[in-house]
């Protein structure tokens, strides 16, 4: 079995909005095959922390490293390794569901992506919607498409913000199975969640942010 390597390392992270400190001196190390679940109340800073980890937000202090390189959202190398599903994913209004996934796979250099794309489409139950334009999808279907974007491309680290959001019970069960198998295949995962079943099934470590639930 290969030695576990550090994929993500956050040291001394601090983020504050005015006088309101969201988190301070936050440290986190994620190695291959590990899944870290961030839990906590609404407003505890889970999404802000994830945004800092993927470079969408800049921490006031501290550093984030991905595979030993400082995290820069604009760095092509980092985007090659990190698949993220946070709330700012947008879609081309005139490209269908399957075309989005095909584009993403090809952009990442997968020369024959048809099989992979079809497989993922089936998994996220969007086969019937494959020709639909994103504007016509329901919020749950859009969420499934967003999750699918993370699975049709090569990745070392998966960062997900409340991936269970807007999914039905069946969808959450599928997601927990998929994330578990991703972790078992050596992927590093950091995700924020309010779904105890998902956290229990996927996470190897749980980090509770903010004041503990009373």
């Amino acid at each position: 079995m290969a030695k576990r390597t550090t994929i993500l390392k956050a040291s001394g992270l601090r983020r504050a909005f005015g006088s309101n400190t969201i988190f301070d001196k936050f440290n986190l190390e994620v190695r291959t095959g590990e899944a870290i679940a961030l839990t906590g109340r609404n407003g505890a800073g889970k999404s802000t922390l994830l945004r800092c980890l993927v470079g969408a937000d800049r921490p006031d202090d501290g550093t984030v490293e991905v595979c030993g390189n400082p995290m820069r959202e604009t760095s092509a190398e980092i985007r090659r390794d990190v698949a993220t599903v946070i709330d700012d994913l947008d879609f081309f209004p005139d490209l269908s569901v399957v075309e989005h996934l095909d584009l993403l796979a090809r952009a990442h250099g997968i020369s024959e992506p048809d099989e992979l794309v079809d497989e993922v489409l089936e998994e996220v139950q969007l086969v019937a919607q494959s020709g639909q334009l994103p504007g016509t999808l329901s919020s749950g279907q859009r969420r499934r498409l967003a999750l699918a974007t993370a699975f049709v491309r090569p990745r070392k680290l998966l960062i997900l913000d409340e991936p269970e959001q807007r999914l039905d019970t069946e969808g959450v069960t599928w997601l927990s199975g998929r994330l578990r198998s991703e972790r078992q295949s050596g992927l590093a995962i950091v995700f924020a969640s309010h779904e105890p079943a998902l956290v229990e099934r996927v996470a190897t470590r749980v980090v509770e942010l903010g004041a503990p639930r009373g």
């Binding site: 959202e73 760095s75 993220t84 947008d90 081309f92 005139d94 090809r106 974007t149």
Partner: protein, 550 residues
Amino acid sequence: MSSIEASEDAPVPEPRTYGHLVPATPRELKGMIRDWRRGRATKNLVEAIQDAYVVVIGALMIGAMIINVILNAQRFVASCTSVSCLSARTVLPWAAFAGAVAVALSVSRLFGPVLASAAEGFWLLDAPISRAKLLGLRLVAAVLAALAGGAVIGAVVSALTGSGSTEVLIWSAATALSAAAAVAFAAAQQGIDRHLLSRIFTYLFGLLAVAALMLVVGVAANWIRLDFAGELGSQLGLIMIGFSGAVLVASFVLARLRLRQIHRARLLSGGALVSGLSGAFFALDIGLARDIVVARRAIEIGQVNPVRGRGLGLGAIIWREWQRLRRFPQPLLLVAGTIVVPYAADALGMGSLSSVFAALALFGATIPLLGGLRVLTRSKGLVRCLPFSVAQIKLASIAIPATVVVIWTISVAPAFAGFRGTTVQRSLSEAVLMATATGSAGLLAAIRWTQAKGVDFGAPMIATQAGAFPPGLLTNLFRGFDVALLVTAPILLGVSPFWSLVLAAIVAAILLNSMDAESMRARQAEQQKMLQEQRKQREAAKAASQQRKR
């Protein structure tokens, strides 16, 4: 037996009856709403105008300037009596006429044209009252708006071609009536929820407009010989007035009758679109307004035949851009239409201004081609999924529109050579330089416009006499126009077009650099953080040495 079945069998009370009720009339309801609104008003109209006096004076000044420019151009062009001038003078109002009908039909299909807000849909359209009476004024308002818009377009175009006041009046009336007839026709179609005819006529009149514009090019280039001596233009305009008037009356009556059976969903979707657009315009975020319209069109289309991609890496993005253009080629029609601008300007004896006019027209026509760039610019999520630098991704998404602009540049080069004896004659190399500079100006302006971010109302405001303004609010309005005018300025001033190309190169470098500005900012922030850490270490070392000395 399930619990649900059991509850269904349980006895239920009879619904309450209210006796014989007479519903309120639409007039009573409207009167009530008007009273409530007046009761909540904190200012009257005069006070509101007094508060917005800067805006009113500004609008008056700009309006006066525009009218002055049109009148000057009209006087200048009217002096031209060559065959090409006369032909353009006759044919361009036809193009405006056909274009106005196409635009009126297209906008009508987009909004309704009869529409209702979500609140009206919920509170009024559910009530047992006549929808025809409730919405009658909406129909009149839509038709009047088209009438006003058509009149302005017809008047401006015929004035700019140097027509006399009678012709201006005739074409203004013809265009106004035709646009109004188009809206009334679309409303009649909306009443039975069928839009096929509106759609067919939109394309038909769009093609007619492009054909009329191409005719101007043909005449200006001496490929086609037309002799429009006498009163042909005016006579044709009068025929159009009669025909459009008849269509307007017939369509309006039909639309009014069909208002009774109009579908609520269609009324509300138009209302929702208007409220979204008004929000975007309130923030002067024209890009957002366009995004809303594009999203709405995509929802209307709904489904496409998926096409598997080609190529790998950046090639896949370029191929997808090409495929998107093939799927929705309508913007190409717009770009093709703008080819006529420098030819028409030349035909009308305004060769010196053709570069500015053409760049501005191309700027507007290129924006719909940059849909991919727009999506990649407005949020970071999609860019974050792609394994390339931001600049690379954006360059890939510009490749196809840039190719279209290159073809446009080749097509307009003869216009800049001044092929008519009436205007300035230029060497082929100079004409090519001018065409390239003009094409670059249009493309760069569109790229700048497309990349506009929404106004940041959280940023520090600028104090003005009209109140506090966020810095991006006004600059967003002039975005793109600034680049088009800057790049074409040397040509307008009679300096060598080479300098326009130099300016275009500088602007391109800045725009391309700004595409990766976030990366630069991130690097800058990292460097600042390192410097701060070094400073802290130095200070700590200094303090430690001082302590040791003590």
